[in-house]
């Protein structure tokens, strides 16, 4: 029986190529691991029994439409919804022969940073089940970390791939906006949503990105990649200019243990031959969070208008169509989507539009300009991914604003449409710390190269201690 805990996707690919394991055997081995270990974690909302494909199996966050397999986005309002078509990323995985293992848990409509906002119960962190896996792609992160999937897809709007990757000790890429199709993805905030690979290693990440990225005629916001995806192999950082933005590295709330691990990694960049220097993103960091919590809810209030009980998902009957809408939406949405829908509707409403939404769009321009200025001097910018390690379940559940702060370091670059890679860089109190690498648009190859060299030098053991 294959030991799935340590197996990387690349190693699994080797097993298939050499005829040592079939796709179906790998699929069965992961289903066994899920039966053994997922009772405690709740990473999966449902699994797929039959292996459809001869390659390395994969898990999808439950907002990725998969034909014939229930897709709920973690919400009661989509309970029982069975897509009649595949999302483009699902078709590309199918064409690459990757059998689907199942759909992973998430914060409802990707709104959250802990996976506690799922309508189907929280996911727990494989490093410590009293703690959250991060979110909103917490199910995908926990599945990969616990060896319940060799790789997985998540989605990232404000940090929903990078932050859970950080909290679970795995690698997560939020790609450049427009490089991965959103066709068939349950929409949250369309100018920010991106699908991203979640993996044990940087090379696995590049391999999966290569499968899903590229222009799609079904999503007019996608573009061709300017260069093919390169699977990284260099182990030095000679010639790479690494910028350390002060505000991202000295933000209030960064835990001392996180700061130490990140500072050690910055030193490592130097030892590997990079030119390291300090830089600044003054307004991007100070105003990023406020900007995000106006833009994203505004887009969400529009995107979530479609859940009306008329065409799919939950319906709560009423005497007329309007009451049917209102009762359905009250019963179907959890608190966080309701808060964001109302916040967005308010920010867009007459009399407040210019002060809130219009102003936030201008702040967004400033954030992009500040990053562009930093990239005149540097190739990549680095910081902690999350100010903290994984926090306890329930710790922030009653205070939405405290939860929002989990993404204070991932949001600024997301607003500018920039790619970001989170790699594990060490432990603090026995819990993983994530290192965030940000590059200019379409610089994924450089992020992979930098991340891979650091990964080799750090030698992080991605198997949680308690599962060894």
């Amino acid at each position: 029986m294959t030991d799935t805990l340590r197996l990387t996707a690349e190693e699994a690919m080797g097993l298939v190529e050499r005829g040592e394991a079939s796709g179906a055997e790998l699929h069965a081995a992961y289903l066994d691991a899920i039966r053994d270990r997922d009772g405690e974690l709740n990473a999966y909302l449902r699994t797929v029994d039959e292996a459809d494909g001869a390659g390395v199996p994969i898990a999808f966050k439950d907002l990725i439409s998969s034909k014939g397999v229930e897709t709920t986005a973690g919400s009661k309002i989509l309970s029982g919804y069975i897509p009649v078509f595949d999302s483009t990323v699902a078709s590309r995985c199918r064409e690459a022969g990757l059998p689907l293992l199942g759909k992973t848990n998430m914060d409802e409509f990707a709104m959250g940073s802990s996976t506690e906002n799922s309508a189907f119960g929280p996911t727990r962190n494989p490093w410590d089940p009293d703690r959250v896996p991060g979110g909103s792609s917490g199910g995908s992160a926990a599945a990969v970390a616990a060896g319940l999937a060799p790789w997985a897809l998540g989605s990232d709007t404000g940090g929903s791939v990078k932050q859970p990757a950080s909290l679970c000790g795995i690698v997560g890429l939020r790609p450049t906006y427009g490089t991965v199709s959103r066709y068939g993805i349950v929409a949250f905030a369309s100018s920010l949503d991106q699908i991203g690979p979640m993996t044990k290693t940087v090379r696995d990440n590049a391999l999966l990105y290569r499968i899903v990225a590229g222009r799609d005629h079904c999503d007019t916001t996608t573009v061709e990649l300017p260069e093919p995806v390169a699977i990284p192999d260099r182990e030095d950082l000679k010639g790479v200019r690494v910028g350390v933005p002060r505000e991202l590295n000295e933000a209030e709330g960064i835990e001392p243990g996180v700061k130490e691990a990140v500072d050690r990694t910055i030193e490592l960049c130097r030892e590997l031959g990079a030119d390291v220097g300090e830089t600044s993103l003054p307004r991007a960091v100070e105003y990023g969070l406020a900007c995000y919590y106006l833009v994203a809810p505004a887009e969400a209030s529009s995107n979530l208008a479609r859940y009306d009980g008329a065409r799919y998902g939950l319906r709560v009957d009423g005497p007329n169509v309007r009451e049917m809408y209102e009762k359905t939406r009250d019963a179907g949405f959890g608190d966080e989507p309701k808060r964001r829908i109302m916040l967005g509707a308010y920010a867009l409403s007459a009399g407040y539009y210019d002060a809130y939404y219009g102003q936030a769009q201008r702040v967004r321009t400033v954030i992009a300009q500040e990053h562009a200025a930093a990239f005149e001097q540097f190739d990549v910018l680095v910081s902690p991914t999350s100010p903290t390690v994984a926090f306890k379940l329930g710790e922030k559940a009653e205070n939405p604003l405290a939860m929002y702060l989990s993404d204070v370091l991932t949001i600024p670059s997301n607003m500018a449409g920039l790619p970001g890679l989170s790699i594990p860089c060490g432990l603090s109190d026995g819990l993983p710390v994530g290192f965030q690498l940000i590059g200019p648009q379409f610089s994924e190859n450089l992020l992979f190269r930098t991340g891979h060299a650091l990964e080799r030098a750090i030698g992080f053991d991605f198997v949680p201690g308690r599962l060894q």
């Binding site: 919804y81 069975i82 009649v84 906006y177 427009g178 007019t220 916001t221 573009v223 307004r283 105003y287 969070l289 406020a290 900007c291 919590y293 209030s301 208008a305 009306d308 009980g309 008329a310 065409r311 799919y312 998902g313 939950l314 009423g318 005497p319 007329n320 169509v321 309007r322 009451e323 049917m324 809408y325 209102e326 009762k327 939406r329 009250d330 949405f333 608190d335 309701k338 808060r339 829908i341 109302m342 916040l343 308010y346 920010a347 409403s349 809130y356 219009g358 102003q359 936030a360 769009q361 201008r362 702040v363 967004r364 321009t365 992009a368 939405p400 604003l401 607003m415 449409g417 648009q441």
Partner: protein
């Protein structure tokens, strides 16, 4: 309070959410706290800055006008809570 109870009710109506009394109280407090935090964007004078609606500068994205297979009526209605022939069925307006 950055937002009043009446404003919450008004926004809930715009968003077609029928909220319970308990929800209205809770959301009034929480939305007030969130709005106070996000109002931080108004500290900046950005009257000379162009707004950004989208992170990529894409203009005129064309596609070939070629027919492709689409969903059948039965597929489109497969998830409907209620149907009437080839239509989605809803209560009277």
């Amino acid at each position: 309070m950055a937002i009043t109870r009446d404003e919450v009710l008004h926004v809930a109506k715009l968003a077609r959410l029928e909220l319970s009394d308990d929800e209205i109280d809770r959301f009034t407090d929480q939305l007030s706290a969130i709005l106070e935090a996000v109002a931080k964007v108004s500290e900046l004078d950005l009257s000379d800055v162009e707004p950004t609606a989208h992170p990529l500068d894409l203009v005129n994205v064309w596609a070939e006008d070629e027919p492709r297979p689409s969903l059948s009526v039965d597929e489109a209605l497969a998830n409907a809570p209620d149907r009437h022939g080839g239509f989605f069925k809803v209560p009277p307006a």
